[in-house]
Amino acid sequence: MRVVGARVAVGRRNLFSERRRGLLGVAGTAAALLLVLAVGAVFDGAMRQITRYIDMQPAQVFVSQLGVRNLHMASSSIPLDALEAIETLPGVTSVAPILFAQDGLETGGGRRLSYVIGYEPGLGGGPAEVETGDEPGPGEIVLDTATAASLGVDTGDPVGALGTSWSVSGLVGNLSNVANGAAFVQLDDFAAARGLPDTASYLLVATDRDPTSVAAAIERETDLSATTREAFSRSERALVSDMIGDVLRIVTGAAWLVGFAVVALTLYAATRSRLREIGVMKALGADRGALSRVVLTQAAWTVGAAVGVAAALTIGVGSLLARTSSPVTMALEPGALVRVAAISMVVGAAASVAPLVKVSRVDPASVFRR
């Protein structure tokens, strides 16, 4: 707006001249955006955590019973003879058998549904790194930290799984997801507990060639399914998302609706509280475009600052949560942040400009009458 020769940044000055009011606008908007970002981060964290075990495996190809492309709720059985046949294929550097089951882990302190994985320490298929204690020896079990905390156990404590009792030998980082915890025992122990000699649930194949072509070669040479780690991970996410994603999507969608509605209400109220000043500007000759620019600038500053505050708070809440024993993890994806910022700008702009309709109907002289 041209007032006295030079252009005056009225929107920004308006915001900063009354810092408390400006801060309240930013705080209100940030509270609403915290809701949107944090709930979204819980959803994204839950989805990412579903495939933590798969994603951390160095093996690039997962081999399973024909037609099986998942871990979750899947039942896969492969004769161990298949391992030798796969080992001889060109490009295959190692093959690690694992046994897999979903079972309730039990202690005197509680019960938790968990993936139980039998693997050969040193060969692959186990946890990336044991944080506390050691890899499982005979009769021993390794739990992820969230599962151990939820059951109230530590190294040396007994835990029931697969119909037998184990001693906790070590703890690994949080591998729990929204549906299950994670536990690791030796392959032979698993086979003995479940009566599954000479059988694997999956074979994890490492290769120094293109994993897709190695997977294709395995499917050609055996009666088994072979899936690259990335495709296996995608399939797992899709399954769990189909199973439980809808409820989380409803909650996240509702949080978005509520959050953006509150952003709109806050910025609408912010413009309304300055209607008198805006009326004065109109009386001094500012046209509708100039007035819109003033409130839009104010809205852009408010939303920009609020997005920054809400993102920082979301990251803070996420790191606080990571320090607790909660199995819930939060992941603030950059794409989600950009989407939320863009939508907030649009919603904020529309809500800020809406009260100007009232100004357009006001007689400019009326603002000087009081």
Partner: protein, 368 residues
């Protein structure tokens, strides 16, 4: 002052449009909390539809079993004969039960396959259309599942490589993590699961479940759980895993809602800080001023809570109409909890504006 002036109320109502905006903000936050909790309560209620409705008082399972939905139980086929001989057992029948992943029209979903003896305990409890399974080539599926994927009576339903004829549709009992129940004959379920003689549970009808359960456990070495116990086991497992995500989301909604209430009242206090200064200069003590702020905050939070309840009921109706597989429940205990939550929000939210007024210097109002 002869008569007490309701400063808080007058203050709040002086700018009705802003109060309306604040109420809507608080209401939306409360509605979100109720919706999250309602969805979760509905899910937990539906997840145990089989245990609640099948008509068995006892579930006899492999030792150590706690959950019907998640544990893989296997009992010896002859166990049912032993159970039937126990005094007090009116009926006892075996079932095979297993969660499976079905892929229909590109969507994977877990379903619970139940195999039971035609005419025995364990079959569908409420049919919307058709009849129960009478032959090994037949299947009864969930009405919601059938509706979503275009199946009707007489259609062929592909299950683990077998084509079965749909002869009945049960009422929609889909829930989070369970795409519905599929009922087949015990023989068919055993064949499809690759274990023709497999028995997962023995279901028992009895009028004295506790005594009969004790007797079954001592005679067979199996686990005998009442329907309530096994349903509680399922709910606890779900609540322990998925529930933790829901609780974090609820806590975030509570924190955001509290901030919105606090900021609404704080901005109304800041806008009238001069008036509060005058009230303080006229002799009002901190307690009286805090009372004014608290009254405003509580009024705003409670009115927002009522608005939130209205918005929640609208959202519940919308979810029921558009997403019938999701059940939103608002038990009385949840309403009471919501009232406590809103009151807590108000008390926490009052701290910020009360501190501002507490620090106010009465002389400042005369400085212009």
């Amino acid at each position: 002052m002869g008569r007490e002036v309701p400063v808080g109320r007058r203050n709040l109502l002086s700018d009705r449009r802003r109060v309306a905006v604040s109420l809507l903000g608080v209401g939306l936050a409360v509605a979100l909390m109720l919706l999250i909790q309602g969805l979760w309560s509905g899910t937990l209620e539906r997840i145990t539809a089989y245990e609640d409705n099948v008509g068995a008082q006892l579930f006899v399972a492999e030792s150590g079993t706690r959950s019907f939905q998640s544990d893989v139980s296997a009992v010896p086929p002859q166990a049912v004969v032993q159970v039937r001989e126990i005094p007090g057992v009116e009926t006892a029948d075996t079932i095979a039960a297993r969660q499976l992943i079905l892929e229909l029209h590109g969507t994977k979903m877990p379903v619970m396959l139940i195999g039971s003896l035609p005419g025995g305990l364990g079959g569908p409890w409420a049919l919307e259309a058709g009849r129960a399974v009478a032959a090994d080539s037949e299947v009864v599926i969930d009405a919601g599942l059938a509706d979503s994927h275009g199946y009707g009576l007489g259609d062929r339903f592909e299950l683990l490589g077998a084509a079965l004829e749909v002869v009945g549709l049960t009422e929609d009992s889909r829930a989070l993590g369970n795409g519905g129940y599929i009922f087949a004959s015990l023989a068919t379920a055993g064949r499809l699961l690759g274990a023709p003689d497999a028995t997962s549970f023995v279901l028992v009808r009895t009028s004295s479940p506790v005594a009969v359960a004790r007797e079954i456990e001592s005679r067979t070495g199996l686990e005998a759980l009442t329907a309530e116990e096994i349903a509680r086991g399922d709910r606890d497992l779900y609540d322990d895993t998925m529930g933790s995500v829901i609780r974090v989301m609820l806590a975030i909604a509570f924190a955001a809602g509290t901030l919105i209430v606090a900021l609404s009242v704080y901005s109304s206090v800041v806008d009238r800080i001069r008036e509060y200064g005058i009230v303080k200069a006229l002799g009002a003590n901190r307690r009286r001023l805090f009372g004014i702020v608290l009254a405003q905050t509580v009024a705003l939070a409670l009115a927002g809570g009522v608005a939130g309840l209205g918005l929640f009921l609208a959202a519940k109706a919308a979810v029921g109409a558009w997403l019938p597989e999701f059940h939103v429940e608002l038990p009385g205990s949840l309403l009471l909890a919501a009232f406590v939550v809103v009151a807590t929000m108000a008390l926490v939210a009052a701290v910020l504006p009360a501190r501002r007024i507490g620090r106010l210097d009465p002389a400042s109002v005369y400085r212009g």
